[in-house]
């Protein structure tokens, strides 16, 4: 792994700026902004170092088999027991931001024998990956615990300054 040529892209680039010569091991020493899917909410300020510490330097806890550590999930082990570290182990290098794009959907359904057919998009990958652990260890799980809602979000969720006027009838709804 030490002599493996790494593409200094994305996260790796940041790592390189901090300590260009220490190759293996945790890749970044940064707090960075996960903001490629921001819209209803601001991006998330993500402390990678802190998460490395919390997981006991077990990259697999989040990176499945792409960080050069062996997967534990028996489902993944079947194929990825010896998978090398990925050139770019960042979430977005595998989980498409625009997972519902026509091209992406076409590729997804029309590639014969594709195993990861419903691989979550970037937004879902973040939420599924983070929320599971957060719930387990009592870390924050509320939406605004991790990212502040934008004004677009307030409008979308009819909240904040777009909250409905409280009505005398409470929640009518007109159910019959």
């Amino acid at each position: 792994m030490g002599i493996k040529k790494r593409k200094l892209l994305g996260l790796a680039l940041m790592a390189a700026m901090v300590s260009p010569w220490s190759l293996p091991g945790p890749a970044t020493a940064e707090v960075f902004e996960l903001d490629s899917v921001k819209n209803l909410y601001e991006g998330v300020s993500f402390d990678h170092d802190m998460h490395i510490e919390i997981t006991g330097e077990d990259c697999t806890a989040c990176h499945h088999h792409t960080a050069g550590t062996a997967p534990v999930d028996p489902l993944c082990v079947t194929c990825h027991a010896n998978s090398p570290e990925a050139d770019d182990p960042s979430c977005k290098s595998c989980h498409a931001k625009d997972v519902f794009d026509a091209d992406n959907m076409k590729k997804n359904w029309d590639t014969p024998l594709l195993h990861h057919r419903n691989k979550p998009g970037l937004k879902a990958a973040y939420h599924r990956n983070c929320l599971g652990c957060h719930e387990e260890i009592g870390a924050p799980t509320g939406c605004t615990d991790c990212h502040a809602m934008t004004e677009v979000g307030e409008k979308f969720y009819n909240t904040g300054k777009y909250a409905p006027e409280p009505t005398a009838a409470g929640q009518g709804g007109g159910h019959h």
Partner: protein, 310 residues
């Protein structure tokens, strides 16, 4: 109980509208819904209930996409999960909300399970077959849509739907019209795009694709984690199949999270057909009668409009 009521309703001839339309031979409809089994390439949605966190983002997305009125409470208000209607039932879809997310506390489970409710876009829809003015259409893309201009607001479809979906708008007292999820047909499905709720979900609880591919995927998903998933794809067979299908976890079987597990595999129309076999021909005069009612209603409406214009 309810199921029996519905069936006896359809069988018992109270649904004169049903009888009428079918006896006169609404050929198109019989073809479209009889033994037809759905369009081969129609689209669907596979809902993995094990992944839903009850955040209601899908509800907000639907509200915006369908231009529905502002909600009574913000979509960030989670107290709606604890709202109950009469009979202790959770929220249902309404003319103001084509989809709602309900919470189920299942015994023996640490966490509640959330379930998104909307029209299931049946392969052979009870709403469509029961509608005597043919307001409904099952499109080749899979959506069950309706023409509000044709709907007379008789509520037959509300009774025929096995999932209690159609609701009515009473904004006009003379002409209440059906309101329900249309799988975002006009704005998205028609163009090959997934529904707004599907795309907005932060957990990607829903997968959009061809129904037949989704059935495949559903069984593969179950097989991949047999200790997590219940080995049942709800909607694959129920009432002749639905475009929206569901996976749940073993510790929250469908019967305990608000799904009717006694619906059987027969499309609702088959109960109608059974009944039709015993209907005397004399009932063929009924459509005329109903058309009369309809004309009357629309004339009245038209007149009213005329008056308001002049």
């Amino acid at each position: 109980m309810k199921r029996l009521n519905r069936r006896s309703f359809l069988k018992g001839g109270l649904a004169s509208g049903v009888t009428a339309a079918a006896v006169t031979g609404s050929v198109g409809k019989a073809d479209a819904a009889g033994d037809f089994g759905g369009y081969p390439d129609s689209m669907g949605v596979l809902v993995d209930l094990t992944k839903c966190i009850g955040c209601r983002t899908c509800e907000a997305a639907c509200n915006k996409e369908q231009n529905l009125p502002a909600p009574d409470k913000p979509f960030t208000d989670m107290s709606v999960h604890d709202e109950v209607r009469h009979g202790g039932l959770p929220r249902r879809t309404s003319e103001k909300a084509y989809t709602v997310v309900n919470k189920y506390e299942v015994e023996g489970r640490e966490h509640p399970l959330f379930r998104k409710v909307q029209c299931n876009h049946c392969q052979e829809p009870g709403c469509l077959t029961s509608c005597f003015v043919n307001a409904y259409t099952k499109t080749p893309e899979g959506a069950v849509i309706y023409d509000p201009k044709v709907c007379v607001g008789c509520r037959t479809c509300m009774i025929a739907c096995p999932f209690y979906i159609p609701a009515y708008s009473y904004s006009s007292p003379i002409n209440p019209v059906v309101k329900k999820c249309i799988m975002c047909y006009d704005t998205r499905l028609k163009f090959g795009r997934p529904p707004a709720c599907v795309e907005a979900c932060p957990q990607q609880v829903m997968t959009f694709g061809k129904r037949k591919d989704l059935i495949d995927l559903a069984h593969k998903t179950i097989k991949s984690r047999p200790s997590l998933y219940l080995d049942h794809v709800y909607g694959e067979k129920e009432v002749g199949g639905t475009s929206w299908m569901y996976l749940t976890s073993q510790d929250a079987p469908f019967g305990e999270i608000g799904f009717d597990t006694h619906l059987g595999k027969q499309p609702i129309i088959n109960y109608v057909k059974e009944f039709l076999a015993i209907v005397p021909m004399v009932l063929t005069i009924w459509p005329a009668l109903f058309t009369g009612f309809h004309l009357l209603a629309t004339r009245k409406e038209a007149k009213k409009n005329d008056e308001s214009v002049s």
